[in-house]
């Protein structure tokens, strides 16, 4: 893979200027997650709108590689204004298409960390289903 492809401008831009970076105090939904392979961490906070269903605001905090942080940044843009149930069902390819770079299996875990944490947050707050591939994250606790 050509390396300019991997670290294309949009990835670096999201990494250096992450959208939705921060914490929501008293968030309606939140969760932490860790990539056990490298110890990278992401915490996600969600605020619902008046219907108590639509994601009005979403913020994240974390430390990790450019791929994990940029993908989570992109994710916050993608999910704002959408319903919790829709995000619970959101296929991972929707995010991966947005990220738009070829990823090895190891780096795939980086790119999907934020989406997994978001699904866990919604699952905990709204009881939305948590497909098996994400279930392990629900048991993780950050120390």
């Amino acid at each position: 893979m050509a390396f300019d492809e991997m670290y294309r401008e949009v990835i670096l831009d999201h990494y250096k200027n992450p959208r939705g970076h921060g914490v929501i105090e008293g968030a309606d939904a939140e969760a932490d997650g860790q990539n056990p392979l490298c110890g990278d961490e992401v915490s996600i906070y969600v605020q619902f709108g008046a219907d108590n269903e639509t994601i009005e605001d979403v913020k994240f905090r974390g430390r990790g590689c450019a791929i994990s942080q940029a993908a989570t940044s992109m994710l916050t843009e993608m999910v704002t204004g959408r319903k919790a149930t829709a995000i619970a069902e959101m296929p991972r390819d929707e995010l991966l298409e947005e990220v738009g770079i070829p990823l090895s299996p190891v780096r795939l875990k980086c790119a999907l960390l934020g989406l997994g944490v978001l699904k866990v947050a919604l699952h905990r707050a709204k009881g939305t289903p948590l497909p098996e591939e994400w279930a392990g994250m629900d048991e993780l606790k950050l120390t």
């Binding site: 390396f3 670290y7 670096l12 490298c38 110890g39 780096r107």
Partner: protein, 415 residues
């Protein structure tokens, strides 16, 4: 590290004996700086295994036909090579396992479960690999013993031995588990000193020699430890085989860890008795061909000479420390050259280790990025991960140059 008069090895010539380096030429040819993770294999090892399969293969210690005898003899020959390699007093003290992790679990379960209890302390260090850390944490939890770790000091990330007296007040120290050379930063621990201290406390000392056995001579009779574990795949051998050396009296006093075929003397409905050492601890069909491969790896290491290997790694490490030191924004963890194995972990300001390793990987430079199975240590360093380059007998200075070039490239991408 001792200055020896060992003959200088020719890394480029040795490298030609490793088929993996024959692949893919050009700018992307492999710069392999991940040997502390797992080493590459010389043709001699691969050939020995292939030849054994083709000419001498049968299960061991079971058949009475000639082929089975030959297989068993070769298997036990390999054990003799391992015995001589670490200067153990007897072949009965050399136990084959699946890897070092299994060897360390064997001690924790077979010795620890019987000998630890409330009021006792299982002591590890903050520099331990998870494989020499978690088994003791688990066994302490199960037996009600206290679990503690010798901390590191801030400067060079070496063990802070001034804390030992304080730790000794926490209970009866029963076991000290410590690595000879730490895998993530390359710290060389004063193991003989620590083993003597452990013995004064009435404790046994379990040594993880995974990062030492491939690189420097080990003499278990002078080291002072009670158990020493290492793994085949990091020392030019195949995966699937590890070694536990233990003092005979201790091994004799222990119950087996795994039980079943091959490790029994007599089984009846009423009672089962155990086979002699080392077979008592080798339940099931052992890694036969892997043992042949490990034997061939030891022959190879002996031929090159461990002193020569150590000298070469000191030279490469010194060169790498110098070159990496030139990079602005790069922080090297760990001790000075004199107390460091052929391992360098570092942080490149503003670039996550995953991204560093990816960019290096795209240039054909293989390094490891992550916590290196030492999460407590990473927490102590205040990082989630580091980038690690590690060296072996086939490492060339030009591989270090390519590492440095790649790091400049990474800096540029993330500038």
């Amino acid at each position: 590290m001792a200055v020896t008069s060992a003959r200088q090895l020719d890394a480029a010539a040795l490298r030609a004996q490793f088929p993996i380096f024959e692949q893919a030429g050009g700018a992307r040819r492999l710069a392999y700086l991940d040997s502390s993770n797992s080493s590459q294999k010389p043709r001699a090892v691969l050939d020995a295994m292939q030849t054994f399969y083709e000419t001498s293969y049968a299960n061991v210690h079971r058949g009475v036909y000639e082929l089975a005898d030959r297989a068993a003899a070769a298997f036990e020959d390999s054990r003799e090579k391992v015995r001589a390699f670490v200067n153990a007093g007897s072949q009965r003290e050399i136990i084959y396992t699946r890897n070092a992790t299994e060897a360390l679990n064997l001690v924790a379960y077979a010795w620890g479960l019987e000998n630890l209890g409330p009021g006792d302390v299982a002591l590890v260090t903050e520099l331990e690999h998870h494989s020499n850390f978690v088994p003791w944490q688990l066994i302490a939890e199960r037996t009600g013993a206290t679990f503690a770790a010798i901390p590191i000091e801030g400067g060079n990330h070496e063990l802070d031995l001034s804390k030992l007296d304080e730790i000794a007040k926490r209970g009866q120290i029963k076991v000290l588990a410590v690595g000879l050379v730490n895998n993530s930063l390359g710290v060389v621990n004063p193991v003989s000193e620590l083993a003597a201290w452990a013995h004064e406390q009435g404790a046994i000392c379990v040594v993880d020699a995974c990062q030492a056995a491939p690189h420097r001579p080990i003499d278990v009779q002078t080291l002072g430890a009670d158990f020493v574990a290492f793994t085949g795949h990091k020392m030019l051998g195949p995966t699937g085989i590890g070694v536990l050396w233990g003092r005979q009296e201790l091994l004799q006093s222990m119950q087996p860890f795994n039980v079943g075929g091959g490790q029994i003397r007599h089984v009846s409905l009423e009672k089962t008795t155990w086979n002699d050492l080392p077979h008592k601890f080798e339940a099931g069909t052992p890694p036969i061909v892997e043992a042949i491969g490990l034997g061939a790896a030891i022959d190879y290491l002996n031929e090159v000479g461990l002193e020569s290997i150590e000298d070469h790694e000191v030279e490469i490490t010194e060169y790498a420390l110098g070159r990496l030191g030139e990079i602005f924004g790069l922080t090297i963890f760990g001790p000075p050259l004199e107390r460091r194995g052929g391992i360098i972990s570092f942080d490149l300001d503003g670039v996550h280790p995953h991204d560093v390793a990816q960019i290096l990987g795209n240039e054909g430079v293989a390094v490891r990025a992550g916590h290196h199975c030492t999460q407590p240590l990473m927490k102590r360093l205040g990082v989630a991960a580091t980038t690690r380059a590690s060296f072996y007998l086939y490492t060339l200075p030009e591989e270090i140059d390519r590492l440095v070039d790649g790091l400049h490239r990474a800096k540029k991408v993330f500038a």
